[in-house]
């Protein structure tokens, strides 16, 4: 449909990079943008979407009836794996009422991180539910805030009633290595999920 690769006379133009995305979800203030910023090669950028009557899907009116337009911000970062492969990280909008934006974000996503705070575990329920329903592979990463009590990953898994296959990690969203390990876990989990259940989403 006109989006094919085009070759330019004789020049060894690099192939168009493949772009992938991983979502970073979780409740408000759980550290989504911090995690994105810890591994992104660029300072997290902010993109906004205006939601208007005209652009709003008809099946997603919950919660926005009273307002004709609203703005939803998404923070995102980028990791250039190599010149042929670029990974984007998108922090999902914290507000639960913007589910339909998630749908767009989630389309084609490699997988997701659900960031959780043990002091407010219930804030991650919505995201977990969303990814479970859509069979989008996700890792739960407990962001270990300095002043929060530590719990073993298994305790968190039980509290969240997670499937045994879902990785649960403790992390520090501020630390590059820690955030990186969370992402690796997502991709590994995505690989395992793909091997188990080939394309029936």
């Amino acid at each position: 449909m006109g989006f094919g690769r085009s070759e330019r006379g004789g020049r060894t133009a690099p192939a168009e990079p493949v772009t992938l995305k991983i979502l970073v979800a979780g409740g408000f203030g759980v550290g989504k943008t911090t995690l994105v910023g810890a591994v992104s090669e660029i300072k997290p950028l902010r993109t906004e979407e205006l939601l208007t009557e005209a652009s709003r899907p008809v099946d997603s009116t919950r919660g926005v009836e009273a307002k004709a337009t609203t703005t939803v911000a998404m923070d995102f970062g980028r990791i250039t794996i190599n010149e042929a492969l670029v990974l984007y990280l998108f922090g999902t909008p914290g507000q639960d009422r913007f589910w339909f934006l998630w749908d767009e974000l989630a389309t084609g996503a490699l997988g997701a991180v659900v960031l959780a705070d043990t002091r407010r575990l219930e804030n991650s329920f919505a995201a977990i539910d969303y990814f479970e329903r859509r069979s989008i592979p996700f890792t739960v990463a407990v962001n270990c805030f300095d002043d929060a009590e530590r719990y073993p990953a298994e305790t968190v898994r039980e509290a969240l009633d997670l499937d045994g296959a879902v990785p649960v990690l403790l992390c520090d969203a501020r630390q590059r290595e820690s955030a990186r390990d969370v992402l690796i876990s997502v991709v590994e989990h995505a690989m395992r999920s793909a091997a188990r259940a080939p394309a029936d989403m």
Binding site: R8, F76, I79, I81, V187
Partner: protein, 144 residues
């Protein structure tokens, strides 16, 4: 936070004035993914770089042609110039131009229709990329 409500109300109309009120692009496949890359082949890409013109600049005759076409707005030029430097995702363009994604999609659609840019298609929904690509991602992340 308290003032945001009112601050946000300001620019709601104007960005879409840029698209002459269109919220959807007329181009096919207009629902560009946020990570679709917009690629503008530099007009002199086939020639070796001799530094004569800064990458991304429009040639004067191109600019005249576009200006003569009143359906183009300065933001079209901005997108074109940015993409000529290096391919950028829809999300990056929106952030760079500080415009809502929906507006940028329409503008990109115009440029696609005019044959000035092309857009890569990310991995189709509900399909995971090759295992080899996933391994590459994992290795790349480990090397961070």
């Amino acid at each position: 936070m308290t003032n945001r409500w009112f601050d946000d109300a300001g620019p709601v109309v104007r960005p879409y004035a840029m698209t002459r009120g269109r919220t959807r692009s007329s181009a096919k496949d207009a629902q560009l993914d946020l990570i679709a890359l917009v690629i503008a082949d530099s007009p002199d890409a086939a020639e070796p770089d001799d530094g004569s013109a800064a990458a991304g600049d429009l040639l004067p005759e191109e600019e005249d042609k576009l200006l003569a076409d009143h359906s183009f707005v300065p933001e079209h030029f901005d997108i074109l110039a940015l993409c000529r430097r290096s391919p950028l995702s829809v999300a990056e363009l929106a952030a760079e131009l500080d415009l809502p994604v929906g507006v940028v999609r329409v503008l990109i659609g115009d440029l696609v229709e005019a044959g000035l840019v092309r857009v890569t298609r990310p991995v189709p929904p509900a399909e995971l990329p090759d295992e080899s690509i996933l391994r590459e991602v994992i290795n790349g992340l480990r090397a961070l």
